[in-house]
Symmetry: C2
Subunit: 245 residues, 2 copies
């Protein structure tokens, strides 16, 4: 652990380096996905499990809003609630994610029930919400900085999936389109906050550590999918079993 | 404790009866306020302490939003964040409450610091946030039902204060104007939810109990003010001391 205070730009570089090394864009499951090497059943398993991440995002954000000390910070963070929950019925990120699971042929009630989740998915996502509840506000905000890296993974995912899976349409992937604008805007706010507020070596190390942990969370979710649905294909008791298996 | 299941309308009547008996509109301090019998210093103490309630309301609401299970419920409750934090700088309920403390001649930094609070104010308000965090979602929603009773107290307060204190202007009381629309709309949503979801005698009793507790919280805040600043006038160590005393 370094004890030297980084300049704000050095801190940003160190944060981006974590993304380059640990973001789940490097995960074999992601590569299989955008290269068109997954089956419809494997994509179903991915979308089903990732739904849990999506549906817990507003809980994560509201948990942070509850801790933010000023109307200014709360207003800035509140945008995320709008993005994910929408402003009308059947709008927002969660609703669009359900378009994706619909498009992949999953039963919506089953998806929303989260009954078929891989347990590792639940543990990993819950760990994210716990971070925002239990650690410092600075760490809570820094844990969202994986959004810095998401435009690339989304571009790979959308481009690769449209090109390589004939059962996937642009409408099915509606979720990702607004994220290409939302995520950078949100990441910019969080990055500016972190660069300004992480003023001691200890705070900077905490910020870097929590971003590593957040990357671990996303990575673990793909690990679990790979283990259960790619190789060796060990589906845990109670988890989603694709039909036709 | 009754074990009979009340009809939804009987439940509503029982909730309203709690308001009639325990809402802080019955408190001697409120009566002194609208009858013009408080000094500017006493009104300062009230506005200063009540600021803590105002500034914790978004924490209370975001804490509940974090627990609500659907985008629909979260969207409905999110309105409260907008009402209190506003959509732009210097808008929203908290900013308007600071207009009131400005108008009463309090230093804004001192108000926002909450350094001069009566300890009982802090305990009571924190108890409200804790209810929404720790009890059932049904009880969290029911704890907001004091909004059913607020139009009357606001009308008394605004009418009485404008008529009886020459140092108070309509602009100073801007906070209360939108609350006359917001509170009934919010209360209507919460009441409909509670009438629908409190389906067992135990749930109904929990709902009634939490509304009593919420009334106790508001009552305790005026008790503390009365004790410290009216009679016997025992200001606890560290709490706001009006200038000129």
């Amino acid at each position: 652990m370094t004890t030297r205070l980084l300049s704000p730009d050095e801190l940003e570089a160190a944060l981006r380096q974590i993304g380059a090394e640990r973001y789940h864009s490097q995960h074999p499951f992601h590569k299989l996905m955008y290269q068109g090497k997954l089956s419809r059943a494997q994509l179903q398993a991915w979308a089903l499990n990732r739904y849990y991440y999506q549906c817990r995002i507003p809980a994560k954000d509201a948990t942070l809003i509850a801790r933010l000390p000023t109307p200014e910070l709360r207003r800035a963070w509140r945008r995320r609630l709008h993005d994910h929950d929408g402003d009308e019925p059947n709008t927002g990120g969660i609703a669009r994610w359900l378009q994706l699971t619909d498009g992949l042929g999953l039963d919506r009630d089953y998806v929303v029930s989260t009954a078929g989740l891989l347990p590792i998915t639940r543990f990993a996502v819950d760990a994210y919400v716990d971070i925002v509840r239990d650690r410092s506000i600075l760490e809570g905000i820094a844990s969202c900085l994986t959004e810095l890296f998401s435009p690339t993974i989304i571009a790979e995912r959308v481009g690769g999936m449209l090109a390589n899976y004939d059962f996937i349409t642009a409408a099915t992937l509606d979720y990702f389109r607004p994220r290409l604008d939302q995520a950078p805007m949100d990441a910019e706010f969080a990055l500016a906050y972190v660069k300004q507020q992480a003023c001691t070596p200890e705070q900077q190390e905490a910020v870097l550590a929590v971003l590593r942990t957040k990357c671990d969370i996303l990575w673990a979710m793909l690990d679990a999918l790979h283990l259960a649905y790619v190789e060796p294909g060990m589906i845990p008791p109670g988890a989603f079993v694709p039909s036709g298996r």
